[in-house]
C-alpha cells in the first residue's frame, strides 16, 4: 500500500522536505502507525514523535490517530494552525 505524505510549516522546514511517497509495511494501517514509522528513522524525523500538538489530515480532512488508511491516500502532518 502506497500513500503520499506531506509536511507543512515548521515541520516541513525541520525535515527539509515538503513530502514523500511512502510504501507502508504490512500492519501499518492507521495514522498513528505511519507517524511511528516515520519517527523511527531517527534524527530530525523523531520530531514527529516529539511534537506534542502534531495535527494530521487524511485526503485533506482533519483526522485522528486511529483513522485508517487506504492505498493512494494523501496524509499530511503539520503544527497547530495559525491563520486568521
Amino acid at each position: 500500500m502506497n500513500i503520499k505524505v506531506l509536511y507543512f510549516a515548521a515541520l516541513r522546514e525541520a525535515l527539509g522536505t515538503p513530502g514523500e511517497t511512502l510504501a507502508l509495511p504490512p500492519g501499518c494501517t492507521t495514522l498513528a502507525d505511519v507517524r511511528a514509522l516515520i519517527a523511527a528513522r531517527g534524527g530530525d524525523w523523531e520530531k514527529l514523535a516529539q511534537m506534542k500538538n502534531l495535527r494530521a489530515a487524511i485526503n485533506q480532512r482533519m483526522a485522528e490517530p486511529s483513522s485508517t488508511l487506504a492505498d493512494g491516500d494523501e496524509v499530511a502532518f503539520f503544527p497547530p494552525v495559525t491563520g486568521g
Binding site: F8, A57, Q60, R61, M62, A76, P80, G83, G84
Partner: protein, 151 residues
Amino acid sequence: MSFSACVQEADFDIGAEIDTLLGERGDVGAVATFSGLVRDMNDGSGVHAMTLEHYPGMTEAALTDIIDQARARWQIMGARVVHRVGQLRPRDRIVLVIVAGAHRGEAFAACEFIMDFLKTRAPFWKREDTPDGSRWVDARESDDSAAQRWK
C-alpha cells in the same frame, strides 16, 4: 446570495466584497464582518513582514466546511471568507469574513463562529520576520478555548 471562500495572494476590498455578496437581495437586514490585520508587534518583538503558508486544496475544503457548519446552526442568507497567503507587511489585511442575514444576532454569531473555527481548523501557518530573525508563530491557547465554547 451565495456562500463562498477564497484563498488568494491579492488584497481585498471590504466594501466591494460586501456589495458583491449582497447583490440585489432586498431581504438582508444585517451584515457582520470581521477583518484581521498584520500587527507591527507580536509577543514584544517588532514584525517586519509575515509569510502565510497554507495547504492548497485542504484550505478551501476546510473553509467551505466551516461555512456549512455555520449555515446549519444559524439562519443566515450568505457568507464570504477571503484569506490571503504569501508575504504580508504590517497593517496589511489578512482575512475577511462577511455574514449576511435578516437579523443581527445570527449574523454576529455566525461571523464570530467562522473566525473561531478558521483559527483552529483551517490549515494556514504564519511565519514572522523580526529583527531577531524568522520564527513560526505559535498557536494560541485562547484560540482553542474560543472554538471550544461553540460545542
